[in-house]
């Protein structure tokens, strides 16, 4: 039974704002260690979906189970990386990365080791004593990612974290993300409107419909890592996802 239980199970998830039905009876499961990308037409309620998943919004109906129990960020180790830059301006890079570890009261030696490892992976060791106001946009997003991974989350939610970066930096950070994901074995839910990004990163791609949002389909992405964005298979899968989103 314990082995069969998926990491995340979403059952009949429904969210209404007043009379407006945003999420319509979503059902899906995510396996342990999976990298799932969620794509959908613009304005289809992707962010509402993630926010319900984290209980930032209370869902109108339905259930979200993580490890078989209702989701609660205070009890479960979940991290969230936002579209907006969310590093704490009064903390240095190092203190930002340490934040979640201190909130969760992780012992100091373990926390120190995690912080060093994260600083190293995202390449910010030299900038550990800098404040966010002294960093570039891509460095800020790295801080957010390192902060999220430092707590060794069981589940990582990402809401278009690279939406505002130029293509060069995006590829670089995407490679870093894959590296971190492989290393930690974290389950990742990654929301994006960028189909290429979804195909580049994911193991599975979930396509959402227009509002009211439901799950249109879930595709497997068997392409081996690292992926080549101009290979035939890559382009074929990208076009397939594009068509699924276009034909609502």
């Amino acid at each position: 039974m314990a082995n069969k239980e998926p990491k995340v199970r979403v059952q009949n998830l429904t969210k209404k704002f007043g009379d407006l039905l945003v999420l319509d009876n979503l059902n899906f499961e995510v396996e342990e260690g999976e990298f799932l990308c969620i794509v959908g037409p613009t304005g289809c309620g992707k962010t509402t979906f993630l926010n319900s998943l984290t209980r930032l919004y209370q869902p109108t109906a339905g259930e979200i189970l993580v490890n078989g129990i209702p989701v609660d960020p205070k009890k479960q180790n979940i991290s969230y990386i936002f579209q907006e830059y969310s590093s704490f301006p009064w903390l240095t890079v190092e203190q930002n990365i340490r934040f979640g570890l201190e909130i969760k009261k992780i012992p100091k030696e373990e926390a120190d080791a995690n912080v060093e490892e994260m600083l190293d992976i995202v390449g910010l060791t030299k900038f550990r004593n800098y404040y966010p106001s002294q960093l570039s946009i891509s460095m800020l997003q790295r801080v957010a990612i390192a902060r999220a991974f430092a707590t060794k989350p069981e589940l990582l939610l990402m809401d278009e974290p690279y939406g505002q970066l130029d293509i060069d930096l995006r590829f670089k950070l995407e490679d870093e993300l894959i590296k971190l994901w492989k290393k930690t074995g974290t389950t990742v839910l990654f929301i994006t409107h960028n189909i290429e990004e979804a195909v580049y990163l994911s193991q599975k791609i979930m396509v959402l419909t227009n509002k009211p949002t439901s799950v249109k389909t879930v595709l497997d992405n068997p392409l081996p890592l690292p992926r080549d964005v101009v290979s035939e298979e890559f382009v074929a899968l990208r076009n397939k996802v594009t068509d699924l989103i276009k034909w609502w």
Binding site: T54, L56, P73, K74, N77, I78, S79, Y80, F82, E84, Y85, S86, F88, P89, W90, L91, F99, G100, I103, K104, Y131, P132, S133, A144, R147, T151, L157
Partner: protein, 257 residues
Amino acid sequence: MAEKQKRVAFGALGIFIFLCIWYAATTLTSLGKVMPDPITVLAGFFTAFVEPIGTHSMIMHILVSLRRMLIPYFFGGVLGVLVGILMGWYKLADAILMPYIQMIRPIPPIAWIPLSIVWFGFDEGSKYFLIFLACFFTIALTTYNGVHSVDETLVRAARMLGAKDNQLFTSIVLPTTVPYIFSGLQVALGSAWATIVAAEMIRSSEGVGWLIISGQEVGNMTQIMVGIMAIALTGLLITSIMRGVESKLCAWTVRGK
């Protein structure tokens, strides 16, 4: 660092030019009949450190006034921060207290002199009361604004990292509010010090405000100007110290730098 030295140099140059104009105006025109020139005032100011005016030397006048200002400033600061946080955090406290603050704040401290004498007598109490009024409201309101300026994204981020309500308060709300508290403390320090003359209008026999009031009573223009100079220079000194403390404690803000 060079930037900072330049700033100080330009500041000093500006003051020097002002003193020159003052000197020219009092020696070359009839303004000199009603107002002493800067050299007389400066000499008067520095002589007062060795030759007492009234019963005290200049350093004692300054220290007495500083104590009169700092004690109520301290209480105004602590209470102002507490009330500001209370109003910022709880809507009910905001609804109840805000009208009082908005009504009482515009009343100038001198307007309270008669009442404060009745309530607190002629001694230090009434002076403390006036200065307390001069700083409490500013600090309460800036703190309140600080609590309201908390970034929702950061609150969400902290919540997602597992922060409970009390942790949110100490790890997000307080650090956001600290720069606001400092700007409030800075402004309030200025107004508290500016109120010293009003406070010392209530029977006193020492202090920088007293220098001005007793100078007026005997028609000693030099003593009045010496009192003004003492207030100006001490004011410059304490606000500089305050700014230094701020840049140490709020290293991340642009203001602090």
